[in-house]
């Protein structure tokens, strides 16, 4: 036992999860609330400082990034000093991932956790070396939503941030988080007595994901990254073909990383006749990231 261990017991740090403990919620790791979130796109980097008291600072967006390491090198140390506790930050990955709809994946108990450590046992033949996975099973059917991220890219990101004086406490996929948030909001009734339907659209800093759920069944999923920047038109154009494929009475749920003025109206123009619900809230993604 060292003096540092004793100090950590006395300042109660030992009773909190370590800052990079993936099994703990963010708010338990950083009870002070001060942290820094990055949104990483193909050629963009957004910065979202989380302040004390659950508030968020003014976000910044850096466009036309050629080299992430070079971009972070200029501002990383200062941001680590200004907005973080010991440089800890979280990265929302908005590019170079795949969200897909799979079926007949292993449903052994704890498979959603096992897929992180031993993906082959859950994915079987769908497993690819050098990839990291997350999975969410549909409890009523044999379909699952599978998130795939390239491990090599993750390592490059980790090195770039580490070299800039920042320590990565979490890397997550914003679209996947928003999709899970929308699904947990829509599907709240246990069992299959009251099946839910809906067309879910997620928009997360240029990434778009659309899922069709009909009577608890996940029928179709489409995910694209780096679709839009400021103008939502490319994203809406991507989801517009679903208008013809979904049933007339199917409600549409749209959720974005933050509240976008006129989003619901824009979606309503495409999905005429459908009930459109905007689940977005100001800083929703970052609020979810700090609460879970």
């Amino acid at each position: 036992m060292t003096g540092k261990d004793i100090a950590q017991v006395l300042n109660f740090a030992s009773f909190r999860p370590e800052p990079d403990d993936p099994t703990a919620a963010w708010k338990r790791r950083f009870p002070g609330g001060k942290s820094l979130f990055f949104g990483l796109g193909k050629q963009s980097l957004s910065v979202h400082p989380s302040l004390k008291g659950g508030k968020f600072g003014k976000p910044e967006l850096i466009r036309e990034i050629k080299d992430l390491k070079e971009t972070l090198g200029g501002v990383g140390h200062q941001m680590a000093k200004d907005f973080t506790e010991a440089g800890w930050c979280a990265i929302c990955l908005n590019t170079r991932y795949i969200i897909s709809l799979e079926s007949n994946l292993s449903r052994r108990p704890g498979s959603e956790e096992i897929v992180k450590t031993n993906p082959r046992t859950v994915l079987g033949g769908r497993y690819e070396k050098g990839k990291k996975y997350a999975v969410t099973h549909n409890p009523e059917t044999n379909s699952s939503i599978l998130l795939t991220i390239d491990e090599e890219q993750l390592k490059k990101i980790e090195v770039a941030f580490k070299d800039s004086g920042l320590q990565i406490a979490r890397i997550f996929c914003g679209s996947y988080v928003l999709l899970m948030h929308a699904l947990s909001t829509i599907n709240t009734t246990k069992g299959n007595e009251k099946p839910a339907s809906g067309f879910v659209i997620t928009l997360c800093e240029g990434a778009v994901c659309a899922l069709v759920q009909d009577n608890d069944k996940w029928l179709e999923l489409r995910s694209r990254t780096d679709v839009y920047e400021d103008d939502l038109a490319p994203a809406l154009e991507l989801v517009s073909p679903f208008q013809a494929r979904i049933s007339a009475d199917m409600p549409v749920y749209v959720v974005a990383d933050t509240q976008i003025p006129g989003l619901a109206e824009s979606v309503e123009q495409i999905f005429r006749g459908h009930k459109v619900t905007d689940l977005s809230q100001p800083n929703l993604l970052w609020t979810l990231a700090t609460e879970n």
Partner: protein, 193 residues
């Protein structure tokens, strides 16, 4: 169906040495530590206050002792002074008790002088340090040889005893010297007791 929220999936490369947090119940250890510090601080403050009070009382006590000592010394000095006065008073009393009035002796001597005789000179001196002893120097002009005997008898009748009497005659004047001791004088030892 129900899809429950869970902790956000994390894709960073995990450290191998991540430790779980300590059990919540062990928070009692630092809590007790801080409580003990507060308790120690409170007790130390109380003890410090008590120490200040005790020091103040000690100073007051020492001052009282010093006052008492000074008073005792004053009383001792007063006692010594009074004892000195008592000693002097005793000595005066002894001296007074030891001395005898000379007037009756002088009267007896004067009355013993008969017609035809003259007391030329009479000197009665009390000796220093011995109140009971008188030095008698007397000169008688007389032709009567019995005059001196009558005077000596008169002195003896007053209770005095003669020690070392000396008598000389010159030109009809008898010069008589003697030390007189009063016979009835109380002994000094009895006086002291």
């Amino acid at each position: 169906m129900q899809i429950q929220r869970r902790i956000i999936d994390d894709f960073k490369t995990d450290r191998k040495d991540i430790l779980p947090p300590l059990p919540t119940v062990l928070r009692l250890i630092p809590v007790l530590f801080y409580c003990s510090i507060v308790l120690v601080a409170v007790l130390a403050s109380l003890f410090w206050l008590q120490l200040q009070v005790a020091r103040e009382r000690l100073v007051q006590h020492e001052r009282a002792v010093a006052d008492a000592d000074a008073q005792l010394q004053r009383i001792k000095d007063e006692k010594g002074r009074l004892e000195g006065l008592i000693l002097r008073a005793n000595n005066v009393e002894k001296w007074i008790a030891g001395s005898q009035p000379i007037q009756p002796l002088a009267v007896a001597i004067a009355r013993s002088i008969q017609k035809g005789s003259t007391l030329v000179e009479l000197k009665i001196t009390r000796k220093d340090g011995s109140a009971g002893q008188l030095q008698l120097d007397m000169r008688l002009a007389t032709s009567d040889q019995r005059q001196l005997d009558r005077t000596i008898n008169a002195i003896a009748a007053e209770g005095y005893r003669f020690i070392s009497p000396q008598q000389s005659v010159s030109n009809g004047v008898i010069e008589y010297k003697s030390t007189l001791i009063w016979q009835n004088a109380r002994p000094e030892t009895n006086e002291e007791t």
